[in-house]
């Protein structure tokens, strides 16, 4: 039996960026980039591990907004078009770089990547197969990635977010999720009761969520705790997080790894690259990057060509290093715990592949080395650990998030605090509508009520307040927030005055088509 367990938990999330009203929309590229660079490479890694008979476990949170985009025919069609463009571009690059072996090898690498992505682009089906293999546990996240602690005053808001997520997950993957990734790991004491009622058995919080819980947790973060409701909470391990996330000590900053900011979309001759950037002529990332980080203080223009073999070697080395450190950590913890400790390592999935190009490769090496090269640690999923150790301490975790400073400040500060008076008012109005219109109504009214619920949920995405704070793409976030609030308000007014504009309703239904089975009665309080 292993001396300790490692649960690698990846959270895959993108906000709902679907714009049928425009032929090309820059923000939709977020999805295409993440598919090509993160989701598909990760799935390929997991499939290959299974094919090679490697025993491994990974937990993957697929946010409902992301999942809704993955199953959307329009976005699937656009992604295929996007990929075809990249395949054409990489083909041209193979020709253009034929006398430059360093770059030519990379052009071929990307060409293969893009063709592989096209072949593997049915990722919903792939995820389902991975789930059924028993190696990958799929969990969900709140409906539109709403930062739940800041909606504390309206319980139906939290319930609606949780129920929409669970229902979509079940519909797409054929079973209810056991776990939920709370958006930004934002936990408010009491929300576990709602999770339980909606069928969720566990969630994850940041380290201090457990450590500052009450009563004092006997095993720290190295074993789950139960809330009074019986829902389990798992705490993030600081040490393993730092190894990957830290800008200074983290693996992704290694000089041999691929440089993110040099992209041929910016580097190459404008006329040559023009067909592959945004149709309005704006230079954008293509995903084809030929340089390595080279060194800590190397100017971006002085970067040296990327060498795939060196990077691969480094990913293998870093995987070994990670395992060595976890082994030491576990052996040390064995002195304090009377059971095999659990190390929870949660990360944003998009770190792997998109930002850290070699990330999926690192996971590949990690899983192979854990399975074959040592016997101190073993990978596990949170639900399996609960099955192994069903008896746990009862602790109420503390209000917390994994955001900056550990609480709500990133989503509640000067740039975004003004949104809450409108969000709360809209929640109040949604509850009012749900109470006003009894269950069982049909036709236009039901459609308008359900669409109002969709608009409210889309306005509640933590992504908008997050972007307002980061300062990147702020006009887009402001517009999205305003659009959804505007659509909600118009639907509210029309329901109250009994004058529903069918044309307007159809228009917004076609644009904001998330959660097709949503039921507004979740907001009823009486």
């Amino acid at each position: 039996m292993a001396k300790g367990y490692l649960a690698l938990v990846l959270h895959a999330h993108l906000p709902f960026v679907r714009h049928p009203e425009h032929e090309d929309f820059l923000e939709e590229d977020w999805l295409y980039e993440a598919l090509t660079e993160t989701y598909i490479p990760l799935i390929k890694v997991f499939e290959k591990l299974i094919q090679d008979g490697i025993d491994f476990r990974v937990t993957l949170s697929v946010s409902p907004t992301l999942l809704s985009m993955l199953i959307d025919p329009l976005l699937q069609e656009r992604y295929l078009k996007h990929l075809n463009g990249l395949i054409e571009l990489s083909g041209k690059e193979i020709e253009r770089t034929r006398h430059e072996p360093h770059f030519n090898a990379l052009a071929w690498m990307y060409h293969h990547n893009f063709i592989q992505a096209r072949e593997h682009r049915d990722i919903v089906r792939a995820l389902k197969h991975l789930q059924d293999s028993g190696k990958v546990e799929l969990i969900t996240c709140a409906g539109t990635h709403c930062f739940l602690p800041l909606q504390e005053i309206y319980e139906p808001v939290v319930r609606a977010q949780v129920r929409a997520a669970v229902n979509l997950h079940q519909k797409v993957f054929g079973r209810k999720p056991l776990g939920m990734w709370l958006p930004e790991c934002g936990y408010q004491p009491g929300h576990d009761v709602i999770l339980k009622e909606e069928g969720i058995r566990y969630f994850l919080v940041d380290t201090h969520g457990i450590l500052h819980g009450s009563p004092r947790p006997k095993y720290g973060i190295f074993a789950p705790v139960y809330c009074k409701s019986g829902v389990a909470a798992f705490g993030r391990d600081v040490e393993s997080s730092k190894a990957v996330w830290s800008a200074i000590e983290g693996y992704p900053g290694d000089p041999d790894y691929r440089e993110f900011y040099r992209d041929i979309g910016y580097d190459l001759d404008y006329d040559y690259i023009r067909p592959y950037i945004h149709p309005d002529g704006t230079r954008i990332q293509t995903g084809m990057k030929y340089f390595r980080i080279t060194g800590a203080n190397v100017d971006i223009s002085q970067k040296q060509p990327y060498v795939e073999a060196w990077a691969r070697e480094k990913a293998s080395y870093h995987a070994g290093n990670f395992i060595f450190n976890r082994g030491k950590q576990v052996e040390h913890l064995n002195n304090f715990l009377d059971r095999a400790p659990l190390i929870i390592s949660p990360y944003d999935a998009e770190l792997f592949g998109h930002w850290w190009y070699e990330g999926p490769q690192w996971i590949d090496f990690l899983m192979r080395k854990i399975a074959c090269d040592q016997d101190v640690i073993k990978t596990i999923t949170p639900s399996e650990y609960l099955a192994l150790y069903p008896k746990n301490q009862v602790v109420t975790p503390s209000l917390s998030s994994w955001g900056w400073k550990g609480y709500a400040e990133y989503w509640l500060e000067g740039s975004n605090d003004w949104t809450y008076r409108h969000l709360h008012k809209a929640a109040e109005r949604m509850i009012e509508l749900a109470n006003l219109f009894p269950s069982g109504i049909n036709g236009l009214h039901k459609r308008a009520l359900n669409q109002a619920a969709r608009e409210l949920m889309l306005a509640q995405s933590s992504d908008w307040s997050f972007i307002m704070k980061t300062g990147t793409c702020v006009p887009y976030a402001q517009k999205r927030f305003k659009d959804h609030m505007g659509r909600f308000t118009r639907l509210y007014d029309s329901l109250k005055s009994n004058h529903i504009d069918a044309g307007f309703l159809s228009d917004v239904e076609s644009k904001d088509n998330i959660f097709s089975d949503i039921d507004y009665t979740v907001y009823q309080t009486k």
Binding site: L80, A296, T472
Partner: protein, 247 residues
């Protein structure tokens, strides 16, 4: 170092947060005026740097960065990406909803955020009761006892409140304090509890095995291909339908 930038941009939230709290801005204007005016950063800002030091050619300089400042990219992007909404979708946030309420939210163990909207007559009523020399205040209660008052300006409609104790419950009232110290509330907030910023003093241990049978069944079922393939009803990316059209 670009790799750092990589992590800073996206991995922002995971960084250990040890910095000192900055004093929050206290007086805020009405909501609609608060649209941030920060200078925007384009998502990928390499080009700013790449335009420099072009003279230092290396043997690998076959690919030369093109001179295109991020400011220009930003400008183009902001104009093109965000066309104005169709007229039928014009919407402006309400300056007020006609409510008389004050809401309290927790930002962290030592800071709360409150916003409010008062009906004029409720406000006038409280002011009249407080009499001459009345002062508009937020009165903060900790664990149901008066903690302190904050005098607020007439234009403010929200406030960041610094509180003395983590792990305590708070609520507040907005109203007027009379010259002799009596308080007349126009609205009272919800109650919130701040999180602990340290280990709990409670060391009692209680252990639980919740719903063991159910959980075992659920966990044991995991991995045996129980989900019904194709249950969802349409083939994504089927070979005959590369666009993933519904079957």
């Amino acid at each position: 170092m670009p790799s750092k930038k990589t992590l800073k941009t996206k991995a922002k939230k995971k960084k250990p947060a040890a910095k000192k709290k900055t004093a929050p801005k206290k007086i805020k204007k009405a909501a609609a005026e608060k649209a941030p005016v920060k200078k925007r950063k384009i998502k990928f800002s390499a080009s700013k740097k790449t335009v420099r030091s072009r003279s230092k050619k290396t043997i690998f300089s076959a690919i030369e960065p093109v001179v295109l400042s991020s400011e220009i990219i930003q400008h183009i992007a902001s104009v093109v990406q965000h066309p104005i909404s169709p007229a039928h979708e014009h919407f402006d946030f309400s300056q007020g909803y006609g409510d008389n309420k004050i809401i309290l939210m927790v930002r962290d163990p030592y800071w709360l955020f409150t916003y409010w909207e008062l009906r004029q007559w409720e406000k006038d009523n409280a002011r009249a009761k407080a009499g001459r020399g009345a002062c508009e205040c937020l009165r903060i209660y900790k664990n149901d006892a008066v903690c302190f008052d904050i005098e607020i300006g007439g234009m403010a409609n929200n406030w960041y409140v610094s509180v003395p104790e983590a792990g305590a419950s708070y609520w507040l009232e907005i109203g007027f304090r009379s010259a002799d110290g009596r308080f007349f509330a126009a609205a009272r907030s919800n109650v919130v509890k701040t999180p602990l910023d340290r280990m709990s003093d409670v060391i009692d241990e209680e252990w639980m095995i919740p719903d063991w049978d159910a959980l075992y069944a659920l966990s044991g079922g995991f991995g045996f291909g129980h989900s019904s393939a194709g249950a969802w009803g349409f083939a994504l990316f089927s070979p005959t339908s590369p666009t993933g059209a519904r079957a």
